[in-house]
Every structure is written in structure tokens, then in C-alpha cells.
Point group: C2
Chain length 235, copies 2
Amino acid sequence: MSTAATPLYEKVKAHVLKRIRSGEWRPGARVHSEHELVRELNVSRMTANRAMRELVQSGVLSRIAGSGTYVADLRSAGHPLQIRNIAAEIKERGHVHRAQVVSHGRVAVPAEVRAHLKPRGRELFHSLVVHHENGVPLQLEDRYVDPAVAPGYLDLDLSEVTAHEYLMEAAPLERVEHVVRAIVAPARVASHLRLAPGEAALLIERTTWRRGRPASFARRDPAGARFARRGVFAQ
Amino acid sequence: MSTAATPLYEKVKAHVLKRIRSGEWRPGARVHSEHELVRELNVSRMTANRAMRELVQSGVLSRIAGSGTYVADLRSAGHPLQIRNIAAEIKERGHVHRAQVVSHGRVAVPAEVRAHLKPRGRELFHSLVVHHENGVPLQLEDRYVDPAVAPGYLDLDLSEVTAHEYLMEAAPLERVEHVVRAIVAPARVASHLRLAPGEAALLIERTTWRRGRPASFARRDPAGARFARRGVFAQ
DNA sequence: AAGTGGTCTAGACCACTGT
DNA sequence: CAGTGGTCTAGACCACTTT
């Protein structure tokens, strides 16, 4: 019953999607149950189940055990935006990426970082790096790393390896959280990015979790006007 | 063999994740095959398969049919950020959302919009709405809509129905594109959002495709400092 | 030829919902 | 109570890769 270009569960999905797109099943309406799909389409229940589960996962349907499966209301659904690695992005554009290391050492835990990282020790590793695209400063990266998670962080040559690449090897990434906002670039940021006084900048705060706890906190300041590109770039 | 708080396939996932987190299986390494997991954990192959499939879906593993399953290299992978519906977001916080309609009518196609929308006619529908959260202006929405896609747009009461909600009913959403950047709020935006002169604001440009062509273009100006929240909000 | 993932079946038991 | 989704099994056939 297999041997088809498109798998059966995809046909079941298409069958359901068609009825939703045609307006036959409107948001909030109950769709056919798995057993009904089994009878209608001559598939096994596991196949119908997989189709429905994937449609739930993609946000098209929602299910209530014991009750039924309903067409989701996409009106309030979110749309994903990628946060991408800036170095990789610049290279993909065929441009030259250069990382200028401003400082790289140990610091006492700053108060505003304590809200994001709760290190066991009293010190954090810190680095301040300016990323350039074809010689133009594009982003300031202010990163704090828990020594317990990445003890070798100070030995890195950050002009060669991005902190993100190293941290991925030191400990796998479990969770990432981003906060994006707009600010008027403070003097320190403006000077590194050669921004005019009062120029706007995006501020991206990124916290990563590794080994079950927050392991690094980074502030990114991409130059506002130079960043009129698709998506948001960090890492 | 069921009757457990956590499903078996979740246990299989945990089993695999544990070995990855411990460093036993590094990025690029081959992990145990489905049959091996079946023997190790005494589960059926369908259960092992579901576990592995979900780990692929979440980006932890990648599979090559006929060859094996490998630990994915997350180093250059992107991370999603949600672009959410501001009205829904405000309501979820239990706050009051109010949409103040500044203008709502027809306009000749502005030059800077022509880059995003290529309407067949000479006019576009246009609306300018300020979104308030508990009385505080939070976002300015400047939207252009192709009359061919949403002929009823001018009949809407935008203080009751968000444009997004209406457009979802008029024609299904096929594609969305966002450009995010930081700007110093121009005077017009600053006055609507009651921002101080020179204050920074996020600018989100959003183009939606419906019926195979660009159907609406919207500029969103969320107030920068008031928006120190997780994620980016638009729609 | 042996191993791998991709798919599919025809049953099953469970907890829960709704009438 | 019948119906629903959630899970699980023990097989199976297939196309493909690797040795």
C-alpha cells in the first residue's frame, strides 16, 4: 500500500488542508476524527495520526484529547524571523568579515549581567569585539561567559574563531533567548561603530543555556542604518 | 507497556540527548540506529522512529536514509524569533488594547511603497493606526493594501477588527517577509507615539503575499524603550 | 549482502470528553 | 456510554548506502 512518490500521510494532510483552504472547514470548526479519516481514505490509524500530528505541529490544527481536532485560528499565530550568525552571513554575501578584538579578559560580574547569568564563581570571562564587513564596522559584541562552562575561553583567538563557534564545541546549546529593541547608541557604542551622535541602533540581548544553566550573555549592537537587511543577525 | 507519566518516545529522546550533552556523541558523529535503540531500550521501532524524527525536526539530529543518523552541527544554524500579533499579545498580558484610527482611505501609490507592492491599479488603500496598551501608545501602523486583493478594506472598522484579521479572511497568507531595523523616530512617528525627540524606535517593514503576489505592505514603529520585551511584535 | 532510514498496517490499551 | 486523541507494538516492504 506504499510505493508512491508522496507518502500517504502527506496525502492525508493535503486532504485536510484542501478542506480548510476551500473554506469548508473554517477556523474553530471541528475536522474529521482520525477514525473518520481512516474510513474515508483507507489508511491505518497511525498514518492518519501522523498527518494530524504534523498539522498540529505546523499550527494549522489544534487538538483536545477526548474532544476532537479543530482548525486553528491563525490570526494570532506568530511568524518566525531568523536570528543568524553575522560572520556566516557576511561570508555568504561574498564579503570580507573581520573581527577586531577590543578587549578579552576577566571581570567581576557586572550588576546588569547578574540578572541574566548566575555564575558560581565571582568572575566572568568577558570579550568586546567589533565585527567588520569589508572594513565597515557593523556590529559590536559584548559577551560574558561563565568560566565553569567554557574554561578555555580566554585562550581563544577571537579574531579567528567566533565565540559562538567555540562555545558550540565547549558545550552544546540547549536554549537561546533573544530580546530585541531599539536604542539611541550610547557614546561607547557609537564610537566603536563610527555612528553619528544620536544615531539609532538595534540592541539584541542574547542568553544561551548550556548544561542546564545560563552560560553566556551577549549584547549586540548592529549599526541601525547599515542594517536594512532582511532578518535580524546576531550570534 | 505504556502507563507512564512520560511517553516512551520522550524517554528515547532523553536517552539520545543525554549522550549528546555528555559529549559522548559529538556534532557530526553517528548516533545509534533505530534498530539499536529498539534493542537497547526495549521499544518498538515505530517508537524509536518517532523519537528520532522529532529530534531531527528540532534540529538536534540529521538523517541520511541508508546511511545513518548524525548529531547536527548547530554552529551556523539560525534561531527563530517570533513576530507576533500586537493586539493578541496585549490581550494575553491581560491589558487593554485600543486601536486609534488616524486615517483610512485611498492614496496614489507612494514611490517608496512601489518597491514592495506592484498593484495593477493606480491607487492603494491606506490606513494609519496607533495601537495603545492600557492607554499608552505602543505602535504606529502604516499599511498599504492592494485593492485587488482586499476590495472591502475601506469598509472595515479598524478600531474593532485589526487589518491583519480582515486580510486573513479576505485571502490566505502565503508568505511574509520582515525587515527589522532601528531608526531615530521621525517627527511624525514621535508625535503619534509621544516619544521624546531623538528617541530610538524599531522599524519593522512587513510585506505579505496572497494569491501569488505582494498584497500588503506595512511599516510598524514600536516605541523602542517601551518595547524591552521578549521577541518582536508586529502584524 | 547487510544495514539504514522511510513508510505503513492492524491491531491494542489508556485517559479523557461529552451526552 | 460511545467517541476522541495519545500511545505502543510487532511485524512488513521499500529504496538507498556501505562494505
